[in-house]
């Protein structure tokens, strides 16, 4: 069977048709662009941050605010933003959602979490801002947070949620006792985010003023952040000082020898990974969860990039789907374009992060900014496969209402955003 299918696929492979060939080339060139521009400075550091979040931030501490005894006024804001630290990977969103619904704060906060979680996790926000533009990244995070509260409250009002199961054993989600004060963790994450932001600082249009100043000094700022980060590792995380100094020294030498900043940057990343691997449990866990995310997300992301490139083309060229179709369906900022984008997004399944290259393709061929945001908001939050899981938790009626709310809210956010920008 499989052999026959392969044979047929190759028999009818439309090589020579110019459209097909051009699309294949578009797919490859888009993948090349990502590999050259986004992987080293953006994706890999983002994976390190995601790994650190999953190891160093105590989920138990956050979940306490979403437990059965939680005050509603606290539960909603926490549910709407906690996706950023709780749901680094989409496979953890659904168990957390089911847990909050059944044993914790009830249907309102649970649906708020489910809506915002996939949109505001660090990886999604970083990649969206980097590729689709900063205002898109911010709009996505803000839209997700604000409208998740609206959705949660609406669900709560429509379905007066029954009293939650009081028998929930809080001990199971009890926090592992924190081994360092919160502000140290904040500084630690702050430094990593600084390194990420400044090393990705884009060249501004004008050659004067504050933005240009930051741009021309971006490697200085990045290096200073990196040095402080190294010291923080030694002082708070008890890394071996000698190893950190070896890494710093090697990075500095490489930076002086080569003019391409990519080489010292990669050396520093490898060095940090090496120092972490050989230094205690926490460091090892950090590297191994970083590696887990990378292993899980990279193949899917690149498959998504190839498909997006093939169908939609890279920013420079057209793929197999003509631009005219795209701009006629989701161009501009009409109600219909936004609505169509929301509905498509709600049913379509996006593997983690693949929504970003797909949208890049759509936007460079005529999709409006409003519909793009609508798709970003409705897309990762629900999909046909996870609707089935949600239905097994909530039941058919509540699931239908939830999906409808998602579509409506995504459409509204899209229209507002499209009008502003």
């Amino acid at each position: 069977m499989i052999i026959a299918a392969f044979f047929l696929a190759f028999y009818f492979l439309p090589i020579g048709k110019s459209g097909f060939q051009k699309s294949v080339i578009e797919a490859l060139s888009l993948a090349k662009m990502y590999a050259r521009e986004h992987v080293v400075f953006c994706l890999i550091p983002a994976f390190f941050i995601a790994g650190a979040i999953s190891v160093f931030i105590s989920k138990g501490a956050v979940m306490k605010y979403l437990g059965a005894g939680a005050k509603k006024i606290v539960a909603y804001p926490i549910a709407s933003v906690s996706g950023s630290v709780l749901a680094v990977c989409s496979c953890t969103v659904l168990p957390l959602f089911a847990g909050i619904h059944k044993r914790g704060a009830g249907i309102g906060p649970a649906t708020a979490f489910l809506y915002s979680g996939p949109a505001i996790n660090v990886l999604a926000v970083i990649l969206t801002s980097r590729i689709l533009g900063l205002e898109m990244g911010i709009a996505r995070a803000l839209g997700a947070v604000v409208f998740s509260v609206v959705i949660g409250l609406t669900m709560q009002i429509i379905f007066k949620s029954p009293s939650t199961d009081e028998s929930f054993d809080e001990n199971l989600i009890e926090a592992e006792e924190a081994n360092r004060p919160l502000w140290q963790a904040m500084v630690y994450f702050g430094l990593m985010v600084m390194i990420l932001i400044f090393s990705n600082w884009g060249r501004p249009e004008q050659t004067q003023g504050i933005w240009h100043l930051i741009y021309s000094g971006k490697w200085v700022i990045t290096s200073i952040s990196a040095v402080i980060f190294g010291l923080a590792l030694v002082i708070w995380y008890h890394y071996d000082a000698r190893k950190i100094f070896i890494v710093m020294g090697a990075t500095a030498v490489l930076a002086l020898v080569f003019h391409n900043p990519m080489i010292p940057f990669v050396a520093a990343l490898i060095g940090i990974a090496w120092a972490s691997m050989t230094d205690g449990e926490e460091g090892k866990e950090w590297v191994s969860s970083t590696w887990d995310f990378a292993k899980q997300i990279f193949p899917l992301l690149f498959a998504g990039i190839l498909i997006a490139g093939f169908l939609l083309g890279s920013p420079e060229g057209e793929g197999i789907i003509p631009s005219g179709w795209i701009s006629s369906l989701v161009g501009g900022n009409s109600f219909l374009a936004n609505f169509f984008a929301s509905v498509t997004g709600a049913f379509m399944y996006f593997a983690t992060l693949t929504e970003v290259p797909i949208l890049e393709g759509l936007m460079s061929h005529g999709m409006g900014k409003g519909p793009a945001l609508a798709l970003l908001l409705a897309g990762p939050a629900v999909s046909l496969p996870n609707m089935l899981v949600i239905r097994s938790v909530l039941g058919t009626k509540k699931t239908v209402v939830f999906v409808l709310l998602v579509v409506v809210m995504a459409t509204i956010s899209g229209m507002i955003f499209g009008n502003l920008f």
Partner: protein, 76 residues
């Protein structure tokens, strides 16, 4: 003995299954290893951070990939 791994199939869950198999093999005991992927059953166990690890219906750990050594010390 019945060992259940609770999780929706993320890489962490499969690593935990792998480590559990190794632990059971190292101990040479007769144990049934079951993957639980149904979300409602996972929540009924009170596990919110996957992967969860349960022995004979009692949750021993959650949200963590236990090493083979740790698993041996739990089930032995």
């Amino acid at each position: 003995m019945k060992i259940e791994i609770l999780g929706k199939g993320c890489p962490k869950c499969s690593r935990l299954v792998q480590n559990t198999r190794e632990a059971v093999k190292a101990l040479g005991i007769d144990a049934e290893i079951v993957k639980v992927t149904d979300i409602n059953r996972i929540v009924d166990y009170g596990v919110i951070n996957t992967p969860g690890f349960a022995v004979n219906g009692i949750v021993k750990s959650s949200g963590k990939v236990l090493s083979t050594k740790e698993i041996i010390s739990i089930i032995d």
